[in-house]
């Protein structure tokens, strides 16, 4: 236990900010999707780190919830990527572009 929890948290925060910046700033829809994946994985890092540093009392059964959350997030992220990429492909076929700011039909 030489590495303190805060290090993991700093790492996850950095990873999240990188993903957030990518999601907000890139025009390419695939790149936005990549940013989102980074943010999800930053959350996963947080979940695992908090699970690992849980302060357990004696005789408590060993919990699995942190790992279970992380697995669910993977599954959701995979599904999201599958749907997202399918959407992007569909948009590309219709409009010959994957730039997010050009796909703006849904507005006032």
């Amino acid at each position: 236990m030489s590495i303190p929890l805060s290090w993991y948290l700093f790492l996850a925060a950095a990873l999240f900010c990188t993903g957030l910046y990518g999601a907000l700033s890139r025009r390419n829809a695939i790149a936005i999707l990549l940013g989102v994946e980074l943010m999800l994985n930053a959350v996963n890092v947080n979940l695992i780190a908090f699970w690992r540093y849980l302060d357990l009392r004696p005789n408590d059964p060993a919990p699995m919830n942190g790992q279970a959350f992380a697995v669910i997030v993977f599954a959701v992220a995979a599904a999201e990527v599958a749907v997202g990429l399918a959407l992007i492909l569909s948009v590309y076929r219709r409009r010959k572009t994957v730039a997010a700011d050009e796909v703006n039909l849904l507005k006032w």
């Binding site: 957030l20 999601a23 907000l24 700033s25 936005i32 997010a100 700011d101 796909v103 703006n104 039909l105 849904l106 507005k107 006032w108």
Partner: protein, 712 residues
């Protein structure tokens, strides 16, 4: 048994009135059947009672009488009742006969059985109907009265009022009958309400008689407070009369008896059309002729004199009251006779002669000739009803002639007639009998005996002024009666209508003959005992019978040649002069007596118009209507309305429109719309902008959350 008959005597006409109005008003035959049937029943009852009354000895002292308690008044009861004494018995006799005769006459007068008119409408006299006979000729014939059933309903109600008045033994029911007759008079004068003149005449009659009735009511109220009863028996009891005679009043030094008597006499003046309340009767001739005959000649106007006779015990207590009555009567007799000289309408002449003859009776009451007044009341009812029915028959015949010849003549104008003697013989002879009775043609006619008795009484009791006035009136009466007969029946027809006039149907001539019979014979029951040659052949039954009604009635006046000769002179002289003057007169222009003062009836109507009608109209028009009603009342209402209007405007312009509508109603919508258009810019459709905004909001929320947690 007799009392029972007395009670129900007035009821058949009342029942007929109700049944006609409610049930049979669509059927002419049923309506007149009910009315004449009821009149016949009452006639039968009257005859039974009359004969019965003849058989009772000392009926005057002990009249048939029956009372019931009617209204509780504190500790006592207001009693009403019926009685039969000699005066009411003879009144009943002539009322029953004239009413029945006139009911039957009305059937013919209103053209029963004739077709409905081409253009007739309710409220106007029938104008005639066009019929096509078997040969295909089109003729115009008289048409049936459009409101036939209504006429019979009204005269039935009238007959109820008259019978009620006669059988009453108290002033209360007498007054009820009196007012019912007043109402019927109004309704029947205005029977042809489509004519403005008939409407005016009806209102004039009603209001003028109402003036008299008001005083009568005052007299009754006073009498009730003094004697505690309205029954004649109580009022005329010796102690009550003594008390009334000795009570002084502040008015002209009259005793209470005299003043009450005069108040009641004012009721008489209204009802019997005595000066100064005489103005309504001539105008009342606007009604159908049977109405003029029954109401305005035979019965209702007689009711006024009947009341004066009833009130005679009171009046006779005060000589000054009697003098007033005698003066009014004598003056009216002469005054009305002068006006009759210049009238050209056949019915108006008779109307003025009625006023004049009623003046005779009133003067007779005034000089204390109680029996003579009652006698003249009876004979006058017969011959005046006869004259009116005769005039109606003449008018009817003239209408027939006018329809035949197609002329537009005034069928009541005597100058349009002439020579009707050949065309209408029955009408002529009966009218002649009536006219001679009215003029007092000696010996054979009833009018002679009764008029002579009044003159004789006036002379015998030293009322020479009254005597001379009445003698002058008698002369004028004979004169204008002969003028009327000459203009109407003698000579040659002056118009085509008169030349084609036609004798009237039997329903009209039979009543004429009946009444003509009485116009002659009714006088024979009262021939004075000491009359030369004839006196004593027949007992003076009338005097003995009626004089017993009232202890105040005097004995028969002693015989004098002077009044008899004067009476004969004026009657025959007037008749002869009337024929002499008018046998050659053919147009109003040739008539020397058509002078303005008589044509305008001594300007009485003009005077009343200036004194009463115009001030009332002015008051109604300018003060009540314009000032009170339109100015003040309407002003207040308009003010309230204007205030409400201003308030409403203010509320609308300053509250409703800006605040409720502008701010709350439209404002909400406008705000939502404006903020919507402003805010929709946020919806850019760019995913990344949304995300950035979410991030920003997250920051703000976080900062706020953390900051607020620090604060609290």
């Amino acid at each position: 048994m007799m009392n029972w008959l007395l009670w129900i005597l007035p009821l058949p006409p009342l029942l007929a009135f109700m049944l006609i109005l409610l049930v049979t008003h669509r059927s002419h035959a049923w309506s007149h059947g009910l009315a004449t049937g009821a009149a016949a029943l009452s006639w039968l009852g009257s005859m039974v009672l009359f004969i019965r009354a003849l058989m009772i000895e000392h009926l005057g002292q002990h009249p048939l009488e029956s009372n019931i308690n009617w209204l509780p008044s504190g500790t006592s009861w207001l009693q009403i009742g019926v009685s039969l004494d000699p005066l009411s018995a003879v009144t009943l006799f002539f009322v029953a006969w004239t009413v029945l005769a006139i009911f039957i006459y009305s059937i013919g007068y209103h053209n029963f059985g004739q077709p409905r008119g081409d253009h007739d409408q309710p409220g106007l006299p029938p104008h005639g109907a066009t019929v096509t006979d078997a040969d295909g000729h089109r003729r115009i014939v008289p048409s049936v009265e459009p409101m036939y059933a209504r006429f019979f309903a009204f005269i039935s109600l009238f007959a109820f009022g008259m019978y009620l008045l006669v059988v009453s033994n108290n002033l209360l029911t007498l007054f009820i009958g009196w007012e019912i007759m007043g109402l019927c008079s109004y309704l029947l004068i205005g029977f042809w309400y489509g004519k403005p003149s008939a409407r005016d005449a009806a209102i004039k009659a009603f209001i003028t008689t109402r003036v008299g009735d008001m005083f009568l009511l005052l007299g009754m109220a006073w009498l009730y407070t003094v004697s505690g009863s309205l029954s004649f028996r109580v009022i005329f009891s010796a102690e009550n009369l003594r008390a009334l005679a000795t009570t002084a009043t502040p008015v002209f030094g009259l005793s209470a008896a005299g003043l009450i008597g005069l108040l009641c006499f004012l009721g008489t003046a209204g009802k019997s059309a005595q000066w100064p309340l005489h103005v309504w009767l001539p105008d009342a001739m606007e009604g159908p002729t049977p109405v003029s005959a029954m109401i305005h000649a035979a019965t209702m106007v007689s009711a006024g004199v009947y009341l004066a006779l009833r009130m005679f015990p009171l009046l006779s207590l005060d000589s000054r009251a009697l003098t007033v009555v005698a003066f009014v009567g004598a003056f009216t007799a002469l005054f009305a006779a002068t006006i009759a000289l210049a009238q050209n309408d056949i019915k108006r002449v008779l109307a003025y002669s009625t006023i004049s003859q009623l003046g005779y009776m009133v003067a007779a009451v005034g000089i204390g000739a109680y029996v003579a007044a009652a006698f003249h009341l009876v004979t006058h009812a017969f011959f005046k009803a006869l004259l009116f029915l005769g005039a109606g028959s003449v008018i009817h015949g003239m209408e027939h002639g006018a329809l035949h010849s197609g002329e537009h003549v005034d069928v009541q104008d005597m100058f349009q007639m002439g020579g009707l003697r050949q065309r209408m013989p029955v009408t002529f002879w009966t009218f002649l009998i009536g006219g001679l009775a009215l003029s007092g043609f000696p010996l054979i006619t009833a009018g002679f005996w009764s008029k002579d008795e009044i003159l004789a009484e006036a002379y015998a009791h030293g009322h020479y002024a009254v005597f001379l006035t009445l003698a002058a009136a008698a002369f004028l009466t004979a004169f204008y009666t002969m003028r009327q007969i000459t203009l109407t029946f003698l000579g040659q027809p002056r118009t085509q209508a008169a030349a084609h006039a036609h004798e009237t149907p039997r329903t009209m001539t039979v009543p004429l003959l009946t009444l003509a019979f009485f116009a002659i014979t009714a006088g024979w029951v009262g021939i004075p005992e000491h009359f030369p040659l004839l006196g004593g052949l027949l007992p003076n039954w009338f005097h003995e019978f009626v004089a017993s009604t009232s202890s105040e009635a005097s004995a028969e006046a002693p015989f004098h040649w002077t009044p008899l000769l004067i009476s004969l002179g004026v009657a025959l002289g007037g008749l002869w002069l009337g024929w002499l003057v008018y046998r050659k007169v053919g147009a109003p222009a040739q008539d020397k007596l058509q002078i303005p003062v008589l044509k305008n009836r001594w300007y009485c109507d003009t005077l009343y118009s200036i004194l009463f009608v115009r001030p009332s109209t002015w008051l109604a028009e300018h003060f009540v209507s314009r000032f009170l009603d339109q100015g003040i009342l309407d002003g207040i209402l308009h003010g309230v309305a204007r205030l409400s209007l201003v308030l409403g405007h203010a509320l609308r312009n300053y509250v409703d429109a800006p605040i409720i509508n502008g701010l709350i109603g439209d404002g909400t919508g406008a705000t939502v719309k404006a903020s919507g258009s402003a805010l929709r810019r946020m919806q850019s459709g760019r995913v990344q902008s949304y995300m950035t905004a979410s991030l920003g909001m997250l920051f703000i929320v976080a900062v706020l959350y953390l900051g607020l947690r620090r604060l609290f």
